[in-house]
Assembly symmetry: C2
Homo-oligomer: 402 residues x 2
């Protein structure tokens, strides 16, 4: 098999851990597999470099930031290659450029446009493990670029897709995807398999193991992703794959909790045409990620609007709302709420999933402030103080601890 492995900053956080990663790779090589390993910078390195740049400028030149930030992954890739070569496992590091990764020129947030896999294929044919510096590529103009947050995951998935690898294993300090956060519900179980769409819903709802950009790319390129831990490599991890590859589709796969939401209520919104569109366009223009919109129209034609935004967008949202204060009777913000979500591909073919959720929370006297549903997800906004209670009750009622 050809395996693409990705080791994040914590997994290569110090020299002992880089040695540990070398040991993981050696074991996989001994099993007869070919390996391309994508590595992040040692944890803390990228932040240190950002602080250096901020000493000189609040808005550092973005092309120079890429020159600066791309150095951390180069260091890790060289060290891991040295560790492997020392133990008789032929290896070669490659910068993003050497690995053939061409991106657009949008520095610090570049997108991968094309991967020329020739150099990697040649090295593999020569029996080498290829160690790619993640998070980076090169623009058409020949300048180094970086891919933004989660960039090393993207590098790994894109390479796996381009070179048609059998699997792309993402190593972090978490050994897979759980039915819910084990810190809230100790009975949470690790999932063996989960579909891309379920993973996307879980991730966007606060499960931070995999970045959505990577899962989306894995789905698009049909790459089998595995989430597993470099600290317990003997544990199998969770496979994220096509829905068709999952034989037994559970009705509910997991319960997600997102505490970083604020509910915005706009009451008595005037009935001039297009006002709602105007509000949401203004929010979108500020890159505010609006979710869970509910609109109720009264007999007077005036509407009440309820929606949630991420806590981080609170200040910019308030500025936008200022423009509409003459169009509404009252605007209020509530940050003591949270969003609990039930995710599962099986919902598509099962009825009664939502009503079971509503009655379970009702039994616990938890009021639902907003509800929204999609094909594979039911999200509910509740008071934050009920967060853990709601998660545990739902985890139990859908038998996720079994």
């Amino acid at each position: 098999m050809l395996k693409v492995l990705k080791f994040g900053g914590t997994s290569v956080g110090n020299l002992e851990r880089i040695q540990n990663v070398a040991n993981i790779i050696k074991k996989i090589r001994d099993e007869g597999h070919d390996v391309i390993a994508v590595v992040s910078a040692m944890s803390g390195e990228t932040n240190k470099l950002i602080e250096y740049a901020e000493y000189f400028s609040d808005t550092p030149n973005r092309s120079e930031m890429d020159m600066l930030l791309s150095s951390g992954e180069r260091v890790t890739s060289a060290l891991l290659s040295i560790a492997l070569n020392e133990q008789g496992y032929k290896a070669t590091s490659m910068s993003g450029r050497e690995a053939g990764i061409t991106t657009d020129s949008y520095h610090t947030k570049a997108r991968i446009e094309y991967i020329d896999t020739k150099a990697m294929k040649t090295a593999i044919k020569e029996g080498k493990t290829v160690i790619v510096a993640g998070f980076q590529g090169v623009s058409e103009e020949g300048r180094v670029t970086t891919l933004g947050r989660g960039g090393s995951d993207l590098t790994a998935v894109a390479i796996a897709g381009a070179i048609d690898a059998d699997v792309c294993e993402i190593y972090t300090d978490v050994d897979g995807i759980y039915t819910t956060d084990p810190r809230i519900e100790p009975k949470a179980k690790k999932l063996d398999k989960i579909s891309y769409d379920e993973m996307l819903e879980l991730a966007s709802l606060g499960a931070k193991v995999l970045q959505n950009r990577s899962v989306e790319m894995a789905k698009k390129l049909n790459v089998n992703l595995v989430s597993r831990s470099s600290f317990t490599p003997e544990v199998e991890g969770t496979l994220i794959t096509k829905e068709e590859n999952i034989m037994e589709k559970p009705v509910v796969s997991g319960i997600a909790l997102d505490r970083n939401q604020i509910r915005v209520g706009m009451y008595g919104v005037s009935d001039r045409p297009g006002i709602a569109a105007s509000i949401f366009t203004s929010l979108a223009d500020e890159n505010i990620n609006v979710d869970m919109i509910v609109q109720t129209v009264g007999v007077d034609g005036k509407a009440d609007l309820d929606f949630t935004i991420p806590t981080t967008d609170f200040e910019s949202c308030k500025k936008v709302m200022e423009k509409f204060k003459d169009d509404t009777r009252n605007i209020d913000y509530n940050d003591s709420i949270c969003k609990v979500s039930i995710v599962g591909v099986g919902m598509k073919s099962h009825t009664g999933v939502a009503s079971k959720a509503f009655s379970t929370l009702a039994q616990e006297n938890i009021n639902l402030r907003i509800i929204s549903t999609s094909e594979i997800k039911i999200s509910m906004v509740i008071e934050e103080k009920y967060a853990e209670l709601a998660v545990r009750a739902l985890h139990e009622v859908y038998n996720l601890d079994k």
Copy 2:
């Protein structure tokens, strides 16, 4: 003018110092000059990376060492470019590869083969200051290489030669070349000008401001070098140039002292043919830098050999000597000696320089153990305890404090 400036590790040792370098460049730009700045890694960074590599291997893969070590200069070049751009001085960093520096494939000690100056010239035409990551290039195979010790100086000199710059200024923490070490003789004077050959003799004799490889390259490419300090940029520094450019040629330019020498004495060397050649070939094979050889032949045909070696080569020299112990009556080693040298292009046309040195030292009751002379240099091995006394006496007798 087009100026190539080189800032060493101490000059860019922390963020404040990088800001200081930016200020030096701004001033030169304000004076209307074009600037290519070559930078080293922040002091300590390269050693840190070497220690990292040594954690994994005593003999780390040399190509990977280059991937590793080249990252430090990239960081400095990006930071300096950010600092300049922030203050409205357009700048762009360039890796060795981007600056067009092609080397051979002798990793960790590569030699520059060719510089394609196109990218640098384009950037300068666009009004930008070019900041080149020193110490590195790219091999024909497309792998990053590094140039070994003093590599950033070489980068600067080679660029200055290739792009026909008016001057190449090497900034360190020392403000120029002195008539002798001011820590020994406080009356030492900074030289305004000195020839390449004098500089080579002074450097090889222990004045560590400029690496010989760089001075040799400057001589070959006819690059005007200036040694000056980034901590006192208002001080002019010392120009190292062609002998023809120096109008008033002093008889003696400086006195150099080298304490790191050991005198090897081989007594009663047998008179079999080629024995001396065999000894020195064996030493050369071990890369031992033999200097100041004196041979005296007795009436019995047996010879006494005296020569000096650097202290660092002592162990390997002893191993070589082991092979010849049957050919000699006695071998001894003396490490309490030092080498004092008088350097000056004016010696070529002046007589009596050597005799003045000998009589000066004789007046101080200092015995000369070995003497060797070249066109522009007189070196004398003396007991180490007389080192300072000898330097000060010679400094005075040649009027170097005037």
